[in-house]
Symmetry: C2
Subunit: 225 residues, 2 copies
Amino acid sequence: MGQWRNGNKSAGMEMKSGHSKAMIARLSRYLRGLEDHIRQGCETISSRALGEQLGISDAQVRKDFAAFNRLGYAGIGYRCADLIQVIRDTLGINRAWRAAIVGCGNLGQALIGYQGFRQRGFAIEAAFDENPALIGRRLHGLEVLPLRHFAATVRERGIQLAILAVPAEEAQKTGEIIARSGILGILNFAPVNLNLPKSVSVSSVELTIELEQLVFAVVQKQIVE
Amino acid sequence: MGQWRNGNKSAGMEMKSGHSKAMIARLSRYLRGLEDHIRQGCETISSRALGEQLGISDAQVRKDFAAFNRLGYAGIGYRCADLIQVIRDTLGINRAWRAAIVGCGNLGQALIGYQGFRQRGFAIEAAFDENPALIGRRLHGLEVLPLRHFAATVRERGIQLAILAVPAEEAQKTGEIIARSGILGILNFAPVNLNLPKSVSVSSVELTIELEQLVFAVVQKQIVE
């Protein structure tokens, strides 16, 4: 544990490893907000205005931005381009990342075609499935390959990330195949906990939790009214 | 703002409205962990053991569970069934929720078939699209209806939630149609901010942010090693 630094110390932000997933998610949201702001022709922004744009409290933004203070200008705020640079450095998205989709059912096909990934610099470079009816088909220009070609394809195409979109009952077995290939990270959409070697980072998208959070917001609104 | 209570005061947990999305997400995770634990035949659990199972620090679990203290037994911990009850009450998932899918492309079809929703008590009761090639088709037993039938269908079937899986460029317009129908909450998968009346709660699943968080974890691991 202890303290770590990001790769580009001069630009990136220092954090303690205790910093939460929620904080990292806010950095992603700040990034989107800043990019919107620049698209609208504004070059500077205050932490307060950014918080208002994103529905994040002023106190929270100021806390998150404490490490960026040296980038601020009294009475002006921050240059958006500076903040974008430092947040991209901190998140590690200041370079290209290549991903493979594993599982080309409806969800996998939706993810291959998802515009948001490419817009943010993530390139889907390969697609895999075990279903003979899918292997060899082209989905959004990518040929579906059998899973036994996974390790070789990952090496050839310089792929670092896998997006796992197989049914729950196949997720563990498929995750093990992916982990053995030298992949660095897996984004898991299957509603199961994967038990994999620590060499691979796993992040799970829990769709039911998203729905539960929505229900919580709905219930709170009913109580307040 | 100020303080609010959940609907069932005797069972639910009190919170301040400042409590974060991250806290609510942890409650969902505790719930899953507790259910796994019960399935394995264990009736009680300590906050420490639950944290270890889920990779959440002991300090964080104890902080989150401060409001549950009266449910604990010295030297034993908590009865899992008690914690499950109070967390379900707190989240508002102690009753049935009915949802409609809007947008039946690959993502919408994947969500209609997503097992996790039904397992957690969310029922998908209707599916809508504007594409004539999809309208009238049956997807996982649900007939795809045209969007102009949305408000009437929602009333007839007692649907409270909508899951929005349309392309980004149609999300705002479709969100407005949904909001006018009296729906309480929208789970938005389109990578855009929806600008809708405050009467409807909106929660967005940001797939790119999930991928950025994975990249952050990968980069940190490389730095530490």
